[in-house]
């Protein structure tokens, strides 16, 4: 009896939160699912929403350009997150050592992270500028490049260049999380391992990495989800060009829904992206849980 009353009270207390969650994410989600099954136009979504069933999805999955955008996004996510993890951990290891100037370096690590993405994108566009960019100047002066070249105007290099800009901005997040985790690793473990004859490499793989794996997985999940929905840096740096070689799936959805005003098919594209992200998240959750059990 008492427990039942407690349950009722608990639900009552939760009601406002449930209403808010349903209001701000439940309703839009259902509306999006509904639109994705119609041919709705942005200007008058309710007037133009003719039921088309799964047509939008069929068209999306058979559209070469959409699949190409998914491929660009996957490439972006894998390379940028991979690089951020490796560089982040290396930098954390360095900053975990005691040396003069460590505090200054640790403080400087925050700077890229503190920049708004749009500012970062504008800045890198200047760095890559084909006529007076710093990257061209550097490479020509040290003799690695014969003449100034166009970095963002060449489909072969544009996406990689955007990735570099993204990595520069986001590796500090991984580094900070890894650094925090590193400080919880007991020093005596290393001493014992050294006595047992374990080298640097062995100590890293057997002690350091397992110890920071938990927090690192969180960083991995966060960064992957972020990378998968990348939009702003693309919008500012290349607007999907050249020859659509940097068009990621978020940019594609944006164009479909807001520039061409087809909310219906835009919604179906967006939901396909959500589905892919959900699979990724589920995979990571599984991995993290499995580690918890070990």
């Amino acid at each position: 009896m008492i427990s039942q009353r407690k349950t009722v009270t608990a639900w009552l207390l939760l009601t406002p939160m449930i209403v808010i969650i349903l209001g701000v994410s439940g309703y839009p989600l259902i509306k999006t699912i509904y639109y994705s099954l119609t041919g709705a136009k942005l200007i008058a979504p309710d007037l133009t929403s003719v039921w088309v069933g799964l047509d939008n999805y069929v068209r999306a999955l058979s559209s070469g350009k959409f699949l190409e955008a998914i491929w660009h996004t996957t490439y972006f996510a894998v390379i940028s997150v991979g690089a951020e993890m490796v560089i982040g951990v290396l930098v954390a290891l360095l900053l975990n050592e005691a040396f003069a100037g460590r505090t200054v370096l640790r403080a400087m690590l925050i700077l890229p992270l503190a920049l708004p993405t749009v500012v970062n994108a504008m800045m890198w566009r200047l760095v890559y500028n084909p006529d007076f960019g710093a990257l061209n100047a550097l490479l020509v002066q040290i003799g690695m490049l014969d003449a100034y070249r166009s970095w963002l105007g060449d489909p072969a290099s544009a996406l990689d260049m955007v990735i570099l800009a993204d990595v520069w901005k986001n590796f500090p997040l991984v580094a900070l999380i890894a650094l925090a985790a590193l400080q919880t690793v007991p020093k005596d473990l290393y001493e014992a391992a050294t006595l047992d004859g374990a080298g640097v490499w062995n100590r890293f793989w057997r002690i350091t990495l397992p110890a920071i794996m938990g927090p690192l997985s969180v960083a991995l999940v966060l960064r992957t989800i972020e990378a998968f929905k990348v939009f702003d840096i693309i919008y500012v740096m290349t607007r999907g060009g050249p020859a659509s070689s940097t068009k990621t799936v978020s940019f594609y959805v944006y164009q479909e829904a807001f520039a061409y005003m087809r909310v219906g098919s835009g919604a179906s594209y967006a939901l396909i992206v959500v589905l892919i992200s959900s699979c990724l998240i589920a995979g990571y959750m599984y991995l993290i849980r499995k580690q918890g059990e070990v």
């Binding site: 999907g240 060009g241 050249p242 807001f258």
Partner: protein, 413 residues
């Protein structure tokens, strides 16, 4: 204090508040572009003059890049965002279909109708109705560096596209400049404007009489092949493929190009020593034509000011538009954007100091070719932009690229 005083006080305050509301300033939200034509400073000055002449109306002017303009206008519909918007000549078909802009035909008097250039009116007219006032009458001109031409032995700018190539080659061969030509060929509307200019000069058509894509043969194909050939021959700066208008201005103004295709606003900026290293050596001519086909080429790059249907301050908005588009204001700010009024072109105050610009404009504005009028213009343009890029980057031949775009656009219709 007794009850009566409190009540009297409350009533008095209520009356004060009500009368205050009646005299409250109206704030207009206006959307402009920061890319070509009028500068931000011009727009702020005009607006300050309007506010001074119309106490009670405040204008909150927002400037965005051209690339963001269309989406902002469309998206602000649901948010009731703007009272005055600047829009491109290619959008009225779409805006009219979805009733985004107010039909202002009844507000335009006969004197205005007769006074404004016919070419400018096409900017705001769709299906017989007027969706605003033309404000910017603009097209792409051929700019040239007079000193470089002289050095290469030419005393006049090219009259045909072929001659442009010949002159550019001579300039390159003499080592005067590495890449004589510069254009705005990034994956953007700017590239479509350059392409349309050349297409029109080569006698091409976007759509045939039945409204089917026709740019993949004849002059349309010739135009893209021409563009690609100037890249292959090393005459065009390869970075053109990532340039917008301001990049073209920067490259030309720093003396790294002999020829540039750009909007009229570049004339006075490239001749301004504070903005340019080639000031005093800037020539302007109508974009060239083709032997036996055309004398000059031009694209209709005009823009108009309209009132979104959702605006709550349509009267005040119209006042602001009337002010900005008035002959007096346009004549005063005629350095970066020429007026839409016919009489302005014989007004000494407008012509003074920029005679070559006005002279070129007279020829060019008369032959402006339209970009296709279709409700799904944005999408058609995106398909074409991609085709141009694919051909210019060598990913496909011009014919293949245009055929693919034509197919995409047919599917859209």
């Amino acid at each position: 204090m007794n009850i009566k005083n409190i009540v009297t006080g409350a009533v008095a305050m209520g009356v004060l508040a009500a009368s205050g509301a009646a005299h409250a300033d109206v704030t207009l939200n206006a959307l402009f572009m920061a890319q070509a034509a009028y500068s931000e400073e011009n727009i702020r000055d005009m607006t300050a003059q309007f506010e001074a002449a119309n106490p009670g109306i405040k204008v909150n002017a927002e400037l965005v890049p051209y690339e963001a303009l269309h989406d902002k206008i469309v998206l602000s519909q649901s948010a009731n965002g703007y009272d005055v918007v600047l829009y491109d000549v290619v959008w009225p078909a779409e805006f009219a279909q979805y009733q985004l802009l107010e039909d202002v035909s009844s507000r335009i008097d006969d004197k205005t109708r007769a006074g404004v250039l016919d070419g400018a009116w096409t900017t705001v007219k769709y299906d017989g109705a007027f969706y605003g006032m033309p404000w910017i009458a603009d097209t792409k001109f051929l700019f040239y560096n007079t000193e470089m031409l002289k050095e290469a032995g030419f005393d006049a700018p090219p009259a045909t596209w072929e001659e442009l190539k010949t002159q550019a080659k001579a300039i390159k061969d003499k080592g005067i400049v590495e890449y004589p030509l510069v254009w705005s060929w990034s994956q953007s509307e700017a590239a479509i404007c350059d392409y349309t200019t050349i297409l029109s000069g080569m006698g091409g058509q976007f759509l045939d009489a039945d409204g089917k894509p026709a740019f993949n043969s004849g002059g349309g194909l010739d135009a893209l092949e021409y563009m690609v050939s100037t890249l292959d021959d090393g005459l065009t700066n390869p970075n053109s493929r990532e340039y917008l208008e301001e990049d073209v201005r920067r490259v030309f103004s720093s003396g790294q190009a002999a020829f540039a295709l750009n909007w009229g606003y570049m004339y006075n900026l490239a001749n301004d020593p504070a903005e340019s290293q080639v000031a005093g050596n800037v020539g302007i001519a109508p974009a060239p034509g083709t032997d036996g086909v055309s004398k000059a080429s031009a694209v209709n790059g005009s823009m108009g000011l309209g009132i979104p249907t959702k605006s709550d301050h349509k009267e005040e908005a119209w006042k602001y538009i009337e002010f900005l588009t008035s002959e007096k204001v346009q004549d005063k700010f005629a350095k970066l954007s020429l007026p839409v009024w016919e009489a302005s072109y014989s007004n000494p105050d407008v012509i003074k100091g920029q005679e070559p610009f006005v002279e070129a404009a007279k020829t060019s504005l008369a032959v402006m070719a339209p970009r296709p009028t279709m409700a799904s213009y944005q999408e058609a343009s995106a398909a074409l932009q991609e085709a141009l890029q694919n051909a210019m980057l060598g990913a496909s031949t011009p014919k293949e690229a245009l055929d693919e775009a034509a197919e995409t656009i047919s599917d859209m219709q």
